[in-house]
Amino acid sequence: MGPKRKIKSGHVGADSTRVDAPDKVRGRAVYTDDIDVPGCWYGKVVRSPVAHGRLRSLKRDEEFDWSRVSVVLPDDIPGKNIADLFIHDMPFIAHDEINYLGEPLALVAAPDRELAEEAARHFHPDIEELPGIFHMEEIVDLYKKQDSSLHSLGEQTTVKGDIEKGFSEADMIVTGEYWAGYQEQLYIEPQAMIAEMTDDGGVFIRGSLQCPYFINPELCLTLNLPPEKIRVKQEMTGGAFGGKEEYPTLIAGYCALLAMKSRHPVKIVFDRNEDILFTTKRHPSWGRLKTGLKKDGTITAIHAELLLNGGAYTTISRVVLARGILHAAMGYRCDNVFVDGRIFKTHTFPCGAFRGFGAPQATWAFESHIEELAKACGMLPQEFRRKNCLVQGDVTPTGMVLKDSVGSPAVLDQVLDRSDFAKKLKQSSRGNPKHKKWYGIGLAFFAHGSGFTGDGEARFKAKGAVELDWIEPNHPGVNIRISSTEMGQGAFTIMDQIAADAISIPLDDVRCPLPDTSLCPNSGPTVASRTTMVVGHTVHGAGLKLKAALEEFASKEVFEGRPVVLENGRFVCSGEALPFRQIAASYLDKHGRLRTEHQFTLPPDLKWDQSTFKGDAYPAFSWGCNAAEVEVDPLTFEIRLKKVTACFDVGRMINPLNCKAQAEGGLVQTIGYALMEKMGIRNGKYDADRMQTYIVPTMPDIPEFDITFVEYPYEFSPPGAKGIGEMPMDGLAPAIANAIENATGLRCNRIPIMPEDLFTLHRAKHQNG
């Protein structure tokens, strides 16, 4: 007997413990590298040693015995040598121009890992090296000079009102520039994938991934296979955070190409160094804000620019930019807004998805700027936010009217109250030389769009299904069939709760298996804080349909046509009751499996213009507010985060325990983003390329937390959840910077903020003063 889950009565809204936990605490959860595939070979990527250049030739040592290994070169690709990631600008294997250090030049597979690695060392590329561009600073410098040598990978603008008029009405204009660095997802399980050929000439791909239906169809073009011949299954995934969103298509492609060439199953598991060096990161960013203010604190105009370092190829960057610009001036009332976002190319690995997806960069800049606006008009930070924050009925920068489900100003009020903000702000040290330790409190208020941008969900038409089936021998129950993945965030537990609630059966009669494209409809990728809200809705809808079908069956077959209700696991008919399992078993005996499906829709009046980026930017917004309390040691400028008070509105909480867990985890990742996780580029290569040098928070680094929620359900889509996954990543970095300013009197406009930066700022201030 292993540990049991605790199940409380009532499903939605209850603290059900996690469905995946018992196996995980017993070491029985099987992750990709734990799978023993008979006859499996190991794959290795032969990588470019230079960041930018032209490949003249790729020679191989003749003395090496190449018959022992399989090699894939561009000519061996059955389809097109294109990585079909959104935009077709990246080859699967480089053959001419090389655009980042580590770009694949060839793939090899061998019966064991060592031989594959040895073979990879016997390739000798001859590359004409070209100058490269690497740093955000270089991009910004060229951008300010309007230098045409900058290579744009995408841009988007959204305009509200008349920005010039807005500035002309202002009493003062405040400007600021805000930088954010790379962030590595650092999921603890490195990227891992296995591919093998199937009897019908297709491939079966399984591994650690977020989005099964990204890999299929994205590999169709490269493998020259129709989608039905590419089966993708998620295995237990040891963390992802966006890092296993678009990237797995590449590693899956490497495995599949090698499996097709070698006719063996092929596995690739990165070691940590390879994983950090050659997978995606959060885009480094630069934001410039220029805001017009009246003396009373009214905002008359916001002009926001957001630049992202896209890396070598476009991949998912335009989608990240879209979310970025939609959050770049979000949260406050203003009639005249101009937001412009751009992605520029550098000779580094393409940047990609990471929890928050452009919103953390945008919110970092904007909430730092808001602090300066408050100062400029002589208001306290909480007063300024309270005066200007969007509330129900207000209009966002894209012209979306916030009709309902608006947790503002509730989240702000809750945090101000619970953190005792006003009093603590007065206690802040502001660099007072008499204080032994400098104390400061700082605030950030923000919103985060749930689901795909604009009418993305309307166009996508996510479908989820539930299936009555034998879920164990002699146990009739319900399988949830969705393509959403469990990567640690708790999705399967939530889906179980929603399905059990909709059907009105015990949680034990429901299970959510790992998704497999051969078994699941496409409920979309596990991204964008959409799973609970969007996919949860499809499961809820499918569950209601299944319930109705079973009630009809019971009525007809058992209760002579009288009305029947399935409630709490029993079919009830005018005083009589039969257990769910009994009726379910007889249905299965008579008709076999029963599957019902439901599709997500958006309100018919939702409007979105993808070309102007105007209209309803998201189905709904979640709302959040964070207060950070820091202590800075005047001796060394070491920064210690003491306490975080956070309040979120994520709509109806399906599982409060899990909501809190998501908030805690995301907030701690943000502590890293704000204070520790520094990554530079040296000779074209990330300098923090191991766990020893890429520094993330450990247990003793975490502060005291006070996390609460206010519920403003998204009523259009039962059971009423909005997104939670990403939002904890948005606000804590600016809250910390604002707290540091209140502690030290030093304004940091660049994250991560290190003692070294405070020292530099302090010295500059001292010398100037």
């Binding site: 605490v25 029985r28 399980e189 237990m236 867990a661 805690e664 985890g665 247990m699 975490i702």
Partner: protein, 159 residues
């Protein structure tokens, strides 16, 4: 190179194995003994996912040359936890506190908790932080792990 032979007690069972002397203990555990609950997250002793107990002491098995583990050593991996009442109490606490998310760090984290509570079943906050400083979790933010350790301490079977 000539192999060495070692006889250990692994999760309560005696096992004799032969391997190259500098083979990582992690590989002997995962590949030779197929205790795949033990995870590799970094291969350089930073993440702690591969933590196992050698005679009750937590070590990162990626940094241990298996030949250096002497005959007679008691090795405990996550798979061995449920064989003891204490282990089950700890697992239950992790489940009910919601301490496991993606679960990849959890086998190592549990071993750190188990080592702590076996020696000190009434740990202070500082003891807990100190005992888990060598284990990185990227999902939970550690809060629920700390709660789980406190809960396990409350329920710890004391003789």
């Amino acid at each position: 190179m000539s192999n060495v032979k070692r006889t250990w007690n692994v999760n309560g069972e005696e096992k004799t194995l032969e391997f190259p002397p500098l083979r990582r203990l992690l590989d002997v555990i995962r590949e030779d003994m197929r205790f795949t609950g033990c995870k590799e997250g970094c291969g350089e002793g930073e993440c702690g996912a591969c933590t196992v107990l050698l005679d009750g002491v937590p070590v990162t098995s990626c940094l241990v040359a298996a030949g250096q583990v002497p005959d007679g050593t008691q090795i405990l991996t996550v798979e061995g936890l449920e064989k003891t009442e204490q282990g089950r109490v700890l697992q239950e606490a992790y489940v009910s506190a919601g301490a496991s998310q993606c679960g990849f760090c959890i086998p190592g984290m549990l071993m750190a908790s188990f080592a702590l509570l076996s020696k000190n079943s009434r740990p202070t906050e500082e003891d807990i932080l100190d005992a888990h400083g060598g284990n990185i979790c990227r999902c939970t933010g550690y809060v629920k792990i700390i709660e789980a350790v406190r809960l396990a301490a409350q329920n710890w079977p004391r003789k």
